[in-house]
């Protein structure tokens, strides 16, 4: 009896206490973070260690490059004043609990007015509640999941933005391209089962593709040996192989498929769009590859992209990839939003990002749609012998 009583007493006291105090603590008005002084603090919620570190570090490099260029060019113009950007970056070790913790750290301790990252959809979803509470916009270079920017009730998430494509947008574009432009009717799919990115792409592709999906097989991120799956596919009749996944595994799939004598075109999404794809696959093997990309690395039609790639190479001594470019654009999108709204307060930046129009980034000219997804042309690149030979813009 006493034990039960104890529990009851305990519960009641706590409940009473929390009610009493909750009233006071929540009464503090929250209008988002205000900018003050001569700097604008933006946050970096980066995967610098852990499983997604390779992508997170790319995001870090792109953001850092953007910040240093903005500051070199004089900073951000707000009401006639030129303010410097300050990047406050923290590592979330690719762990969703830490993502949430970093988000609240950035939003409430560092008082940043906007955040770049985290990079994956799952992490974005974990970060979002804390950013939303603090009314700080978050812009992700890699969270592609369709429903990321939408609330449960169908309304748009007010503080969630992305600089990348959403899965269905890319998946649809690829399905159309394979069927209409390449005129291929039978597709086999080899998809990464461990990421929502690949699952979203697979779903969208299957829905849109008018031809036949011959077979779907799965692998896990981190797998290195695809011989078995490819041997299985080799026996099937198909015209193209669609590989929704990232370059680290896709490079190996291309390599092993070509060595095995699978000569059909291999199609991928922007997870392919990294110079490391060709490095891993080997130049000889990287032929007859098609993938969506955010910038045409031939860069004949985009001076910004050329300049970016040069600057990136100069600073980091390696070729630019997709995630760094998207993070670079995300940072510049924040700058544009501030300048358009003439204020660096976090709520204003959110408005600015939502109303972004014809923003000229290295990954294309971007206009935000109602659901905070960037509208920009999908470019499909073709690679032969490790070199990009052709780039087609599709809608």
């Amino acid at each position: 009896m006493r034990g039960k009583k104890l529990a009851t007493v305990l519960g009641t006291v706590m409940l009473a206490g929390s009610l009493l105090l909750a009233g006071c603590s929540s009464s503090a008005t929250n209008g988002g973070n205000k900018q003050s002084g001569n700097t604008i603090k933006i946050g970096g919620n980066f995967e610098l260690s852990g499983a997604a570190a390779a992508y997170g570090q790319a995001m870090q490099r792109g953001t850092e490059l953007a910040v240093s260029q903005i500051n070199k060019d004089g900073g951000v113009k707000v009401n006639g004043k030129k303010l410097k950007l300050q990047l406050v970056q923290k590592d979330n070790k690719s762990d969703n609990s830490q993502v949430a913790s970093v988000a609240s750290n950035l939003a409430t301790q560092s008082k940043v007015v906007a955040s770049v990252g985290p990079i994956t959809s799952g992490a974005d979803l974990a970060a979002l509640p804390n950013y939303t509470k603090a009314k700080v916009p978050l812009i992700t270079p890699g969270g592609t999941q369709d429903s990321l920017t939408v609330q449960k009730n169908g309304k748009v998430q007010p503080y969630m933005f992305r600089s990348c494509f959403e899965d269905s947008y890319q998946g649809k574009a690829l399905a159309k391209y394979v069927y209409s432009n390449m005129k291929l009717k039978r597709v086999a799919i080899l998809a990464d089962k461990s990421t929502d990115y690949a699952q979203g792409l697979t779903k969208a592709f299957k829905k849109e593709f008018k031809g036949q999906v011959v077979q779907v097989q799965y692998y896990q991120a981190g797998d290195k040996d695809f011989n078995t799956l490819l041997t299985k596919l080799k026996g099937k009749k198909f015209d193209a192989l669609f590989v929704p996944g990232y370059y680290s595994e896709a490079g190996l799939i291309v390599k092993q498929a070509r060595q095995m004598g699978i000569t059909q075109p291999i199609v991928g999404a922007d997870g392919f769009a990294d110079p490391k794809l060709v490095q891993i696959a080997g130049k000889k093997n990287a032929s007859n590859i098609y993938y969506t990309t955010h910038f045409d690395s031939k860069a004949t039609n985009n001076a910004k992209a050329t300049a970016y790639m040069k600057a990136y190479k100069a600073k980091y001594n390696e070729q630019a990839g997709t995630f760094d470019a998207l993070a670079y654009d995300a940072t510049y999108m924040i700058k544009d939003a501030i300048e358009n709204e003439k204020s660096a307060d976090s709520t204003k930046i959110a408005t600015g990002l939502a109303n972004l129009k014809n923003f000229k980034g290295v990954t294309g000219t971007i206009t935000m749609d109602k659901k905070h997804n960037p509208q920009k042309p999908v470019i499909i690149a073709k690679v032969e012998n490790g070199e990009e030979v052709q780039a087609t813009s599709v809608k």
């Binding site: 570190a53 290195k224 190996l252």
Partner: protein, 292 residues
Amino acid sequence: MHTVLQQLVNGLSLGSIYALLALGYTMVYGIIKLINFAHGDIYMLGAFWGYYVINQWHFSFWPALISAMIFCALAGVIIEYLAYRPLRNSPRIAALITAIGVSFLLENGMSYLFSSNVRSFPQAIAVKQYHLGSVTISNIQLLILVVSIVLMILLQLIIKETKMGKAMRAVSVDADAAQLIGINIDRTISFTFALGSALAGAAGVLIGLYYNSIDPLMGMTPGIKAFVAAVLGGIGLIPGAALGGFVIGLIETAVQALGFSAFKDAVVYAVLILILLVRPAGILGKNVKEKV
């Protein structure tokens, strides 16, 4: 039919990689009963060593392989000396946590120094495909298969025939008694780590060459798989590790070939659990009853 044969080759080739890693795991476990979580990361170090000496110093394949084995042997000995030796008389679980710490340190230290990027491993040997009837096998697959079998036989010889091997067996049965009859325990354990880590180094270069992609986290998954392989075969036993490696390679291949690729790892673990229920000390392990 030819697909079945080809898949068998695929399975053996994958299995030989697990076996190669499991050998080192099982040796260290056999002697000090430590799950050396960092073993997979030593394999990563070997791969990175190979990457640098081939790229920077233009080593050819064999010197790269042998230097990687030496480098990893040294790394293994140093790690044992600094991190595991102070814990030799502590609870085994404390040593396990230290091993996990070392694993984190190697992964993240490399990531800090060289970034987490995936790199392509230099092709020190050109890939050749051999076609035997309808079955295709590459020279590198054969190389890995042969090297892992040769190393396994070599290890068995070292353990059964040499003086050091005898010392290793003595220490593994009863370290205190071994010391009484004049065996230098520290040296024996150092030697075991050197041997096991050299194997991991060899695996790093071979697998780097085979898959052509290396990164600081590359040791994590294969490390755990190799551990599973070692346990499956009967941990502490050299033939057990090899057997476990091949069994897992073949199971993974079979599951994928049958079209359940999404459940590949789940099936491996399910088989592992079932085998352990029937044979609680692994396929080749003997279940030693406690004397009352």
